[in-house]
C-alpha cells in the first residue's frame, strides 16, 4: 500500500510542477442577466492536434469551432482552437458536465447562478464548483492566508509575480517554502483520508475490533511513513490496526487502498485549465484573481481540488434605475406632504 501511495505522491509532486502534453485551456463564461451563459473555450497548442474528446472541459462538435495559427518572431507556430456555445441556463451547463468524457471526467463539476433582487440593485452570483477528490486536510486548515493566496493563484500570475520587482523575495520567502509545505500537506491529507476510510469501514463493520481513536491519534505517524518511508508496509499496518489483523482483513485493506488510489487519482489526473468569468453589470466581489487585463480568473489544478471543494464565484450588481426613480419620487412625495402639513399648521 505504502509503496503505491509514495509513487502516487511523487507523481503528484511532479504533476504539480510539470504540465502534461495537452493544449492550454482557457474557459470564458459570459454570464447574462437571465442566467444564460455563453461559454468560450480557447485551446492553444504548439501542434495542430486538438482532440476534443480529451479536452480539459467538455466540448464537442455541436460547438461553433474556429481555428487559427500564429507564427512568432522565432518562427514557432501556435495553433488556437476557439469553441463557443450558448447555454440557456446553468442546468444545461451541468447536463454537459454530467455527460463529460474527457481529460477531467473524474471531476465533479457544477455551475450555479443566482439572481437576487435587492430593490436598488439586482445582484448576480455565478459559481463554478469542483468537488474534492479525497477527504483529507483542507488547505484552509493547513496554510496561512498568504500561502493560500499563492496556493490558489493561477500559474501565469505566479510567473508574473516572479518577474516583478519583488521576485527574489516572493520566490525565496513564499514560493519555495510553499512548495515544501504543499508536499507535507499532500502526505498528511493522504494520511487523513486513509484514517477516515479505516474509521468509516471499521464503524460500519462490527466484526473488526480496532480502537479507532488510537488510529486517529497516529495520523502523524502515517503521514511521516508516507512522506519519509520510515516503516515497512507490514510494520505500518500492524502498528495501526494490530499485528495479524492485516492478514485477517487483507481483502478489506486492499479495498480501502484501492478506493483511496481511485480518489487520489482524480486529483492526480486533473489537467489544469483556466476559468474566466464575465459577469453582467459591475463586479462587486469575487474569490478569483484579477489578471493583467482586469479579467477575473481561477485555475483548476490538481492540488486545489485534492481535499477541498473549489468554488470559483463572482458577484456583480446592476443598478435598477426605475427603483431609484420610484424611491426618489416616493421620498419627495412624503417629504413634500409633511412640509405642506407643517406649513398649513
Amino acid at each position: 500500500m505504502k509503496g503505491k501511495i509514495i509513487i502516487m505522491l511523487l507523481g503528484f509532486a511532479m504533476f504539480i510542477t510539470y504540465s502534461c502534453g495537452r493544449p492550454d485551456a482557457l474557459v470564458i463564461n459570459i454570464v447574462r442577466q437571465d442566467g444564460s451563459v455563453s461559454r468560450k473555450i480557447i485551446l492553444t497548442y504548439s501542434k495542430n492536434e486538438f482532440d476534443l474528446d480529451d479536452c480539459q472541459v467538455p466540448v464537442d462538435s455541436t460547438w461553433n469551432i474556429t481555428r487559427e495559427s500564429d507564427i512568432s518572431e522565432k518562427g514557432d507556430t501556435t495553433y488556437t482552437l476557439t469553441a463557443i456555445k450558448d447555454f440557456n441556463s446553468v442546468q444545461e451547463l451541468n447536463l454537459m458536465y454530467d455527460s463529460c468524457r474527457g481529460a477531467n471526467e473524474g471531476l465533479t463539476r457544477r455551475a450555479d447562478f443566482k439572481r437576487k433582487f435587492r430593490w436598488f440593485n439586482t445582484h448576480y452570483y455565478f459559481n463554478e464548483h469542483v468537488g474534492r477528490a479525497i477527504e483529507g486536510i483542507s488547505p484552509q486548515e493547513f496554510f496561512n492566508a498568504e500561502e493560500l493566496n499563492y496556493f490558489y493563484m493561477p500559474e501565469k500570475l505566479v510567473e508574473l509575480e516572479k518577474e516583478g520587482p519583488d521576485s527574489s523575495y516572493i520566490t525565496e520567502t513564499i514560493l519555495q517554502p510553499l512548495e515544501e509545505k504543499t508536499e507535507q500537506w499532500i502526505g498528511r491529507s493522504l494520511a487523513r483520508a486513509f484514517v477516515n476510510k479505516i474509521i468509516d469501514t471499521v464503524s460500519a463493520n462490527p466484526e473488526i475490533k480496532i480502537d479507532t481513536g488510537r488510529i486517529r491519534l497516529r495520523e502523524d505517524e502515517i503521514a511521516a511513513s508516507i512522506l519519509f518511508d520510515e516503516m515497512e508496509e507490514q510494520q505500518l499496518i500492524d502498528s495501526l490496526i494490530g499485528a495479524g489483523l492485516y492478514e485477517a482483513h487483507s481483502a478489506l485493506n486492499d479495498t480501502l487502498i484501492s478506493q483511496i488510489e481511485d480518489e487520489f487519482s482524480i486529483a492526480l489526473n486533473t489537467d489544469s485549465y483556466l476559468i474566466q468569468t464575465v459577469m453582467p453589470g459591475e463586479l462587486v466581489a469575487t474569490n478569483g484573481y484579477v489578471d493583467e487585463d482586469d479579467n477575473v480568473v481561477w485555475e483548476v489544478k490538481g492540488e486545489v481540488i485534492l481535499s477541498a471543494d473549489y468554488n470559483m464565484w463572482a458577484e456583480s450588481k446592476e443598478r435598477n434605475t426605475w427603483a431609484w426613480i420610484v424611491t426618489g419620487l416616493f421620498l419627495l412625495f412624503v417629504i413634500l406632504g409633511l412640509i405642506i402639513r407643517v406649513l398649513k399648521r
Partner: protein
C-alpha cells in the same frame, strides 16, 4: 369695585365689533375656493395619522436600506479594487516611474523629484491611467512586434 374691575366691566359691555365683517368672510371663502384642490387631493393622506406615520416610517426605512446597501457595496468594491491594485503592482510601479519622468521633463518643476514620491491619486483615477497607459504600451508593442516579425500568418478555418 376697583379701577381694574371697572375697566373690565366696561370692556365686557362694549367689546369691539368686527370691522369689515363681510370682507373678512369673503376673504376666507375666497381662500378656501382658491386652495389647490389637486394638492389637497394628493397630500390628503397627511391628515390621516396612521397613514402619515406609516409612510414616514417607510421613507425612513427605505432611506436606511439605501444607505446600508450603498455602504456595503462601496466597501466590497473598495476591497476588490485593493486586490486589483495589488495584482497590478508592476503596472503601478511603471506608472509611478512615468509620472516622475513627466514631472521632471515635461513640467520642468525643480521640486518634481521630491513631489513625485508623494503624489496622491484616487484608486479610480489610478486604474484609469493604468488602463490608458497599458493600451498605449500594447499599441507600441504591436507596432514594434509587427515591424520585427515581418510575416504574420493567420489562417482561419471553420470546422
Amino acid at each position: 369695585m376697583n379701577g381694574l374691575d371697572k375697566l373690565i366691566r366696561q370692556l365686557r359691555m362694549h367689546m369691539p365689533e368686527i370691522h369689515e365683517r363681510d370682507l373678512l368672510k369673503e376673504s376666507i371663502m375666497h381662500k378656501i375656493s382658491n386652495k389647490n384642490r389637486k394638492l389637497d387631493y394628493v397630500f390628503g393622506w397627511t391628515e390621516i395619522a396612521w397613514l402619515r406615520r406609516s409612510l414616514s416610517i417607510a421613507a425612513i426605512l427605505i432611506t436606511g436600506l439605501f444607505v446600508g446597501q450603498q455602504l456595503f457595496l462601496i466597501r466590497s468594491i473598495n476591497k476588490l479594487e485593493e486586490r486589483m491594485v495589488s495584482f497590478n503592482t508592476d503596472k503601478i510601479l511603471e506608472f509611478h516611474r512615468e509620472n516622475v519622468i513627466a514631472n521632471q521633463v515635461i513640467m520642468q518643476d525643480p521640486e518634481a523629484s521630491i513631489l513625485a514620491d508623494s503624489i496622491k491619486i484616487s484608486t479610480d483615477d489610478l486604474l484609469k491611467l493604468m488602463r490608458e497607459y497599458r493600451e498605449l504600451q500594447d499599441k507600441y508593442d504591436q507596432i514594434m512586434g509587427s515591424k520585427k516579425k515581418g510575416i504574420k500568418n493567420h489562417t482561419v478555418q471553420k470546422l
